[in-house]
Amino acid sequence: MSGAAHGASHPGRAVHGDGPVIELGSVPSLGASQRRGLAGSAAAAATRRRDVAADALDGTTLLAQGLTTDPDRLTAYQHLVGAPAQDRLPAGFVHVLAFPLANALMVRDGFPLPLLGLVHLANEVTQQRPVVLGEEVDVAVHAERLTAHHRGVSVDVVAEVGVAGEPVWRGVSTYLAKGYRLDGATADRAERPEWHAPQPTGAWRLEADLGRRYAAVSGDRNPIHTSTLAAKAFGFPRTIAHGMYTAARALAHLDEPDAFTWRAEFAAPIVLPSTVSVRAGTDGPARVLDAWAKRHQLHVTVTPRG
């Protein structure tokens, strides 16, 4: 199976198309791009360019083809998030496959926000069918929707995944750069209804080394998850759990369907270690999970389709 053969029909091309498509010969090293992101963020902090133009996104798409999955890595991921070790890739694992591209996109010179310190606000994945171990996948990543937020500027990083030209997975990660302003404007704080803790149906014990363990299987070594010192530098008392770990664990908890929309809202960071209460239930056709300790931290919905 040659990855290049499928490139021309990649689903990502039809969707955006307002900027250059850069095909990467190999998947970028996350370590290198994260180090670069660190340097870029330092440069951004030094120049204090905190205003972002509404048209600052250049529409670039990064494309990588013929990505494969290492079975041992898949198993480690599945065990860590509590998913069955099936040959069906969890939707969260597809996110992990696409993440190096998203990361590479965000450290490019033209990307208007700093990688380090970005806060993952929400993540929404729509899956048409599961990717199966052994299938080669093509990934296209672009950014869109720079939006004013009451605490800064948010952006959607969109990853689209196909198998042999068939679109199977689309993920939208919404990140917030705190303290930035979009064309000098700020947004009002959105009204959030007051949240009351329901009766739990379970509890998650999240160990102190969870950040390092998820970093090992996901490749996301953002130091706020792995280093107490770095976490303190960004204002957290200790390391915090990866949002995508908690979202993936919720997805496994809710029994991942084949075709579905999976939305996670990261209401507040979860400091490690901690035990959080969870409630799993349903809301119409959707399966819903909330997690909280003192305050609401995570809201996940999984809506099966068809």
């Binding site: 509590g82 803790a197 149906t201 379970g202 509890a203 035990t275 969870v278």
Partner: protein, 429 residues
């Protein structure tokens, strides 16, 4: 041919149940199961005999005990030519072994068999951390010195700490007690009701011991003659003085204490099952027929039902299959995982809305007179060595039914971890 076969309970034997870390702190699951089996063999004069099968199991089990039941047979007075196998269905393990052996007898595949179970919280396996396990596997696979060093280098001091077994539900992270606390709150079960049930359990078990009821059901072991958890002199005052241990994170008052919850327990039980004619040929008793069993499971993961309420659903199905109602039973045995488990089960069956919405019935399933419920006490007083509880209850119920005369029926309900449960109908022969 098969239609004429009737699997009957010939009798039972168990060790007295000890509190974890007590009299059996240094004996293993294998020791306990062998002792229970040997007592059964002695009671029915089966030394040296080849039985059809022995089925048993343990919930907390060492990997070295992969063939626990067969090893117990080899160590027992039974013929070494008796086949044996392990079964595991959490706290319903004992019930499931009874189902398995009884079904095979009814089918004609066996004439006689032993069902049983054992658990020892004192003999629970201690495991290594996942990281150490992975590193050791890599080390084992490594071919070169460098690869071996690399594998060893991955081991951190924190990986070396042993991991005690977790009795929490893997899918929810809640312990069984925390789960029951949710059910207790949902059904609004009071502290007083729970303590009353616990008190009755202790008083009835103590009275049964004093009357010699357990003379042919229990064989002493390691100088323990009665269940160590039994408190014949407990009272509402003493039970009322205990501090709650579960449900403290909820916004409703916490009502579940060490007194109205079962403690971690060590012990083993066995039940001798045979075709009625096999027993008759040997002059052995036929206490009660194992009429039928039904397994149930609930979706507790998403909060649809309480973890321990599977029997609430399984019993109506079993009754419907036999055209029976709760009024058809002289005695009812509901495993007292927690006092509130029993009370929630009773309330669910009495609740018209629940019975309509969840059980699809026109009206309530019915209520159970407390005089018929757990007549010789149950797990709150005796303790609950998970896999051993089914055998304890079935042997006790069968003997009680036999004393009430032919046709007397008993209903047995045992809930289990994983949101499961197995229920059974027994009928005096």
């Amino acid at each position: 041919m098969a239609g004429s076969r009737r699997p009957v309970v010939v009798g039972g034997n168990r060790t007295p149940f000890a509190r974890a870390g007590g009299a059996y702190a240094h004996v293993s699951n294998l020791d306990l199961l062998t002792a229970a089996l040997d007592g059964l063999v002695a009671r029915f004069g089966l030394a040296g005999e080849r039985l059809g099968e022995v089925a048993a199991g343990a919930v907390l089990k060492h990997t070295r005990d992969f063939n626990l039941t067969r090893e117990a047979v080899l160590g027992s007075a039974l013929s070494n030519e008796t086949p044996a196998y392990d079964v595991q269905m959490a706290c319903a393990t004992g019930m499931e072994t009874i189902a398995s052996i009884a079904d095979k007898i009814r089918l004609g595949r066996l004439d006689v068999g032993v069902a049983g179970g054992v658990d020892s919280a004192s003999d629970a396996p201690i495991v290594v951390t996942e990281q150490l396990r992975a590193a050791l596997l890599d080390l084992n696979r490594a071919k070169t010195v460098q690869a071996k060093l690399a594998a060893v280098a991955k081991i951190r001091p924190s990986h070396l700490a042993p991991v005690a077994p977790d009795v929490a539900e893997p899918r929810t992270g809640l312990s069984m007690g925390e789960h029951q606390a949710l059910t207790t709150a949902a059904w609004g079960i009071s502290r007083e009701e729970q303590d009353e049930l616990a008190l009755a359990s202790h008083q009835r078990l103590a009275a049964a011991y004093d009357a010699g009821f357990f003379d042919d059901l229990v064989t002493p072991y390691r100088r323990l003659v009665r269940d160590a958890n039994l408190r014949p002199d407990t009272s509402m005052e003493k039970l009322g003085a205990l501090a709650p241990v579960f449900g403290k994170r909820l916004d409703t008052p916490a009502t579940m204490t060490a007194g109205n919850s079962t403690p971690l327990t060590d012990g083993a039980s066995t039940v001798l099952l045979a075709d009625q004619s096999w027993a008759a040929e040997r002059g052995l008793p036929a206490l009660a027929e194992v009429v039928d069993l039904e397994a149930g499971a609930v979706d507790f993961v998403h909060g649809k039902d309480g973890l321990l309420l599977a029997p609430v659903h399984a019993v109506p199905r079993l009754l419907a299959r036999h055209g029976m109602s709760l009024a058809d039973f002289e005695i009812v045995e509901i495993h007292e995982a927690f006092a509130a488990t029993v009370l929630a089960t009773l309330k669910a069956w009495e609740d018209p809305d629940f019975c309509r919405d969840r059980l699809g019935r026109d009206g309530p399933l019915g209520s159970i007179d407390r005089a018929r419920l757990n007549v010789h006490g149950s797990s709150l007083a005796a303790g609950h060595p998970f896999a051993a509880t089914g055998g304890r209850i079935v042997a006790t119920a069968a003997k009680e039914l036999a004393s009430r005369g032919s046709g007397a029926r008993g209903l047995v309900s045992v809930c289990a971890a994983g949101g499961q449960g197995v229920v059974a109908i027994l009928e005096a022969v």
